[in-house]
Structures are given as C-alpha cells and as structure tokens.
C-alpha cells in the first residue's frame, strides 16, 4: 500500500505547479480566456515543449508511457490553475482515440502533431439529442465507392471551433443507440460540408455545434474497425471522466483553501468571520468533502489503472461524488465569500463555474448514481 507519487510524477507535478505559480495567475488566465481563440498558443507550445502533451502516450509513439495516475497528476494541477488551454480535448479525448485505434500512418499524420502542439484536435462525442448516452449516435456515414459520406450534427464539441481535426463517431450500421455499428472518422475541419458554430461556455472555455452535410472522407479517415468504434470511444470517455474528476478535486481543494483564508481576513462585527461557528462548521464540511473526494479519486484512479470489473463502478462513484459534493463545495465557497463571491472580478466565481461545468459533463450526479444503483 503506497499513496505516494514516483519520482517522475513528482517532477511532473512540480513543474506544473511552478508554471502556474510563476506564469499563470488569474489575470493572465482571464486574458487568455477572453482572447480570440480562448487560450494562448504560446502557453500551448510550452506545454508541448515540456512534454506535458505527451504524458499518456506510449514510448513507441514518442510519449511518456503515462497512465491514469499521471493524467490525474496533470489535471489536478491544471484545475488549481483554472487553465484554459485545451489539454482535455487534444491529449485526453482526441489523443485517447488515436492512441487506441489509429494506424501508424494516421498517428504520423494526426497524433504526432497533436503531441507536438502543432495541430489542434477534439473528439465530437455527443450529439444534440444524446445527453450522456455515448451510443446515441444519429450521425450517419454511408459508403460511396472508396469514400464515406457523413451527415449529422454534433453538439457541445469542446475545442470544436479551433480544432483542425475532429474525430467524429458516426453510425455505419447497427440499431439506433446500439453500441455496434459506430465508426470513428478523422475529419479535417476544412472539409467541404462541415460547418461550425463556435461559442464560449459558462466556464470561460470554448465549444462548437458541428454540422456535417455530405462531408466526403476517404478510407484513410477511418480510425480502427468499421462498425467497431464504440469500445475505444467508451474507454476514452472513461479516461476523460477521470481526468475532469481530478481537475475538479484540484479546484475543490483550492476553493476550500481560499475560503478559509478569506474567512480569516474578512472582518465583520469587529471580528474575522472565520470565528463564527456557523461558518466554521460549513468550512469543516468543505474540508470533509475535499478529503472524501481526494480519497475516492485515488481509489478510482488506481482501480481504473488496474482494469477489471470494478473500473466502471469506480468512475461512476467518483464522478457522482464530484458532481454532487463538489458542487456544494463550490456553492459554499461563493456563499462564504459573500457579495464578492458573486462578482466577475473574483477568481472564486470562475472556479465555481468550471466546477459546475465539470459537474454537468460526462454524466451528471444523477446519471452516475443511476448507473451505480442499477
């Protein structure tokens, strides 16, 4: 039994912590979030140069052979920094599919430039009508000679406005909402017939609605087996779910720490508000929620890393907890910060918004609790 990080993980953690401390204060983050793209190219290049974008890929692919524990290390810290650079979309989502099913040529063409920070990518894993059901894929791909014609809509595609390459799950067979008959396509954003409506999201990130109208791709765009894309999709979303849980736990701890600090410095009635028992107990509840989430995250990540029967239960457990008690930690942080907590000016509000967005992504609390109860 050992809960400590290995040397490589410690170094990774240290370097991200230093970056956030020295180069990524809240004002800088806000500036990047408000820029045209919604993040900084320069920062993203630095992520690539430092090798952070290569963490979960095999050595053969030029990566660090990292697993869920390493991604947890990264995401917790990106959470603490409220980082807007599209790590999840590029590395965890698009990279997750490519590392699992892409052939060598496809990896050369897409994965390596993603790792190098030269190509923006994403996975369009949800559709407007699908809510959280991954297999609810109504987008179709029909074979025409050696090509495929794609038609349909993808919703809430994170990093969808900037991505040069989009991985599109499309139905090539099977029943509606069935797990069989889903094929994964790598589609260039510049393809004829692909249009996108990009927008900001409430947490300062970016997403897009994607429409595909007779988008023609060649057979080289098919990632993995025709009709057999679901397992890779499901596994990648499991990776991503754990990743955002780690990000959320990073945010929860930060909000708890900031709130305690604030309660010691803010005076009312001539005393620090942290001296009031009504607030003390609420902050203890925040601490409890943070420590419980931390504990469950460790269990979930280690269980998932081992594989086996408990893996999906582990993911639903931590996502349920993050979406429920994590949300409460965010609400309490805002409440205890009082009027300041509801201003745009204060970072607390923005952490709270990101926590909320995570809560509603990749299955919300209800959805995961249903899975656990089934």
């Amino acid at each position: 039994m050992d809960f400590s990080l290995n040397e490589v993980q410690e170094m990774l953690a240290d370097s991200i912590d230093k970056f956030i401390e020295n180069d990524y204060d809240f004002d800088t983050r806000q500036k990047y979030a408000a820029s045209d793209k919604g993040y900084s190219d320069k920062v993203w290049q630095m992520f690539a140069e430092l090798g952070w974008t290569a963490v979960p890929f095999s050595e053969a692919d030029g990566g660090f052979d990292g697993g869920p524990i390493d991604i947890m290390v990264v995401m917790r810290r990106l959470g603490r920094g409220l980082v807007v650079e599209p790590y999840l979309a590029n590395v965890v989502l698009a990279g997750g599919i490519l590392k699992r099913v892409a052939n060598e040529e496809q990896k050369q063409r897409w994965l390596h430039p993603i790792m190098g920070g030269e190509l923006q990518a994403t996975l369009a894993f949800t559709e407007p009508q699908a809510r959280y059901e991954l297999a609810n894929v109504a987008t179709t791909a029909v074979r025409e000679d050696d090509d495929w014609l794609l038609n349909g809509r993808k919703g809430f595609v994170i990093n969808g406005g900037t991505a040069g390459i989009l991985i599109i799950p499309a139905r090539t067979g099977g029943e509606s909402c069935g797990v069989d008959g889903i094929t994964l396509f790598a589609v260039e954003a510049s393809a004829d017939g692909l249009s996108r409506n990009a927008y900001q999201t409430v947490d300062g990130l970016r997403a897009a609605e994607i429409t595909l109208e007779n988008v023609r791709v060649g057979s080289a765009a098919v990632l993995g087996e025709v009709g057999g894309g679901f397992p890779a999709l499901e596994a990648t979303i499991a990776d991503a779910t754990l990743a955002v849980c780690a990000e959320a736990v990073g945010i929860m701890h930060l909000l708890k720490d900031k709130t305690i600090e604030y309660s010691k410095s803010r005076s009312q009635f001539g005393v620090p508000i942290g001296s009031f028992q009504a607030l003390q107990h609420r902050m203890v509840d925040m601490l409890t929620a943070c420590e419980q989430a931390e504990s469950l995250l460790l269990w979930a990540v280690m269980t998932y890393a081992q594989g086996g029967a408990d893996a999906s239960r582990a993911i639903s457990s931590i996502k349920y907890l993050v979406s429920s008690s994590g949300q409460r930690v965010g609400e309490e942080a805002v409440q205890i910060h009082g009027g300041m907590g509801v201003t745009w000016e204060l970072d607390v509000a923005h952490y709270f918004k990101r926590l909320t967005a995570i809560g509603q992504s990749f299955g919300n609390a209800d959805w995961h609790l249903d899975r656990l109860a089934a």
Partner: protein, 399 residues
C-alpha cells in the same frame, strides 16, 4: 502509487481469516447473525479467545503484551473481524484505559492492571461525562479530595456504558479548583466498583435497553496508588484516551459488512413482496452511501499510510469520526426502510436467548428500528460531531 498488499500482508490476511473461520464460536456467531443480544460472558469468552492467540491488544506495543502490528495489519484484522461479524471488542479496558496505563501509569500499575485487561479478567467502564458536563467535559464537578493515603471521591458520572457489569471504573475527577484553566486540576483515578459508596443506577435508552448507567460516588475512598500519572494532569491523559476512541469510531469495515448483507437481503423477496432491488429510489440511496463509505475507507487508508511512513496523520484523519458515524446512521436507516412495517413491532424478548414464542417478522427485521434508535448515540458520544467540527476548525483549519 498502489493499494496491493505485500506477500507478507497477504499471508497475514490468510492467517487471520483462518482464525475467524475456525475459532470464532458458532453459538456467538449465530447470535450475531440473528441480532440476538450477547451476554457479558459471550464478550469475555470471545476476547479471551483472541487473547489466547495473542491478538487482544491490537493497538498495544509488544512490550506490554500487544500485537505490535503495523497499521496495514490492523486494517486487515479489522476487515476480517467485520467480515466474520465477530463481536465488537468492549473498548473500555483494551482500547481506553489500557493505553492510558501503559503510557502514563507507573510500573506497579502496569503490572497490576495490564495483564488482567489483556486477558479480559476485569471489566472496565468509563467515568467521564457528568449530568452537568457533556460536551463541556472540563466543567466536571466530581471531587477527589486528598486525605493522606487516599482520596475521597464525591460526585456523579453518567452514560457509563455497561457499567452494571463492571469491576473497575476509570474516572476524571477534580483534585484542585485553584487553577488558571478549567482543564487543570483534573486527575485520572482508577476505582474499584466494589468500594463502599459506589452505586450504579440504570438509564434505559430509547430502544428500551439497559445499556448505560449513572454511577454515584458518596465519600468513596480511593487509595493514592490508584492515581495514574501526576495529580492534576488527568485532562491530558484523558485526551489521549479520546483519540484512541475516535480512531476506532469510524468502523469502516463494519459498515462495509452491513452494506454487503443489506445488498444480499434486498436482492431477495420477503413475504412474497418484490425484492427491494427493483426500487430504483431505494437503490440510489444505497449506492450513495456506498460511495461515501468507499471514500471513507480510503480516507482511513491514507491515514494509515501516513502513520506507517512515520508521518503524522493529516487532516483526513480528523473527519473519520464525523463521516464514519454519519454513514453508520445512514445504513441503520436503510435497514429500517428495507423492513418497512416490520421494523415497527416492539418485541424485545424475541432478540434474547431462548425465545420460544411465535416470531414476528423475518430475520432481524424487528431489531432494525431498535438499532436505528440506539445508534443515534453514535454522533453524540466520543465528543459529539459538532464538537468534532469545533476541534477540526480550530486545529486543522486554524480558525
């Protein structure tokens, strides 16, 4: 980062498992499984069996006859003990006064008391709370006046669990009122319950059971050699004891066991009703408690890992009591809900040995509400959960 056990630990797990399978007496097991109250003799017999194996002093150092186990071994032992549904160890001797005596007692006291505690030859009880001193323990009024070779003790202790069976009581009593802080001037005394002037009066709890008592001291003479450590330092010793109490209070392994039993129970039909597993709303509640319990298990493991690597337990340890008791009480309620109407018959005789009448309800259904009522105490004893939060706010959050 990993959570696998070493080969040695796995071998230990097997050894403990075998012991519980082969040595745990069948008659006690049957009572435990059917929610029948154990007699004091049952507890003693079981604890003496553990002692014969050298496993009575789980947390004790080897030099005093303890196991000297690592934190991981203790964790494994607790899990196996719970899986076997073995009786809870009566904590007052083995978990509470024993550690105080081997930490703060003199050699004579150690030789006099520790072997009998380990061998469960003497039944101890706790004299802390008073009618006017609950959460505010330092306001206690029981007086111990120095009179040459003895103290004269006067006062009343309350909530004395199983004091009706006890041979000895450990007490916090005030030996001086001339103090700067109320926590000073309190001493830790060991008192023979047979001493003239000691009387025990039952308090019946809301489940109708005589579990706790009031203990009155009327000019009770206590020899000075029964003072543990220094006069006036009892508060410090008492706090150490409470820490031992709190560490075990989370009962994570027991709660896991009860959840597993409940899952099995709700998957079966009772009296022809559809199994509760088809009730989505119930199953969601159950799943939510399981998530919190799994998290608490890892919170406890993180604490153990910190201790094992020589570090002080971090803030995670302080939440064990609060969260652990909240979870226990949530499980109590899940059992009540599972029983429905059949949680409600008040037929205590049915849960005693030798009941020969017509039973109402299936299995332990009619004990579920009683257990729920009884266990409301869990968030009150050992320092109420609100007091725990005060402690965490002060010492962990620095507020």
């Amino acid at each position: 980062m990993h959570v696998t056990f070493s080969e040695q630990e796995l071998a230990f797990q097997e050894e403990v498992r075998t012991f519980f399978r082969d040595e745990f007496p069948g008659d006690i097991r049957e009572k435990q499984d059917n929610g029948i109250e154990l007699s004091p003799e049952d507890y003693i017999r079981w604890q003496q069996l553990l002692h014969s194996r050298g496993w009575a002093g789980v947390n004790w150092p080897v030099e005093y006859g303890g196991t000297g186990w690592t934190p991981v071994q203790k964790y494994i032992f607790a899990a196996e003990e719970a899986n076997a549904n073995a009786p809870v160890i009566i904590p007052f001797g083995l978990s509470m006064v024993g550690p105080v005596i081997y930490t703060f007692g003199n050699q004579e006291q150690q030789q006099r008391f520790l072997p009998d505690i380990l061998a469960s030859k003497v039944w101890w009880c706790q004299g802390y709370s008073e009618p006017g001193a609950g959460s505010d323990l330092a306001s206690l009024k029981t007086r111990a006046e120095f009179a040459g070779d003895h103290y004269v003790v006067n006062g009343t202790k309350t909530w004395t669990t199983l004091g009706q069976h006890a041979d000895w009581i450990f007490c916090l009593a005030r030996t001086s009122t001339d103090v700067a802080r109320r926590q000073e001037g309190i001493s830790f005394l060991l008192i023979d319950m047979k001493t003239p002037g000691v009387t025990v009066k039952p308090i019946i709890l809301l489940d109708g059971v005589h579990e706790v008592n009031e203990v009155h001291f009327d000019n009770v003479k206590v020899p000075v050699e029964n003072l543990v450590g220094e006069e006036g330092k009892g508060w410090t010793y008492g706090k150490v004891l409470l820490q031992h109490e709190r560490a075990n209070i989370a009962a994570v392994a027991r709660s896991h066991y009860r959840i597993r039993r409940l899952r099995k129970q709700v998957s079966e039909s009772v009296r022809g009703a559809p199994p509760l597993v088809t009730d989505a709303s119930y199953m969601r509640q159950l799943a939510a408690v399981e998530v919190e319990l799994k998290a608490l298990e890892y919170t406890e493991l993180r604490t153990l890992a910190a201790v094992a690597s020589g570090k002080a337990p971090g803030p995670e340890s302080s939440i064990l009591k609060v969260k652990g008791t909240e979870i226990q009480q949530a499980i109590d309620m899940l059992y009540v809900q599972a029983a429905g109407y059949y949680a409600l018959p008040y037929v205590p005789d049915q849960h005693e040995v030798g009941f020969a009448g017509d039973s109402v309800g299936e299995g332990a259904e009619t004990s579920t509400a009683l257990r729920y009522f009884n266990n409301r105490k869990a968030s009150i004893y050992g320092g109420s959960n609100e007091i725990q939060k005060n402690i965490i706010a002060k010492h962990v959050l620095g507020l």
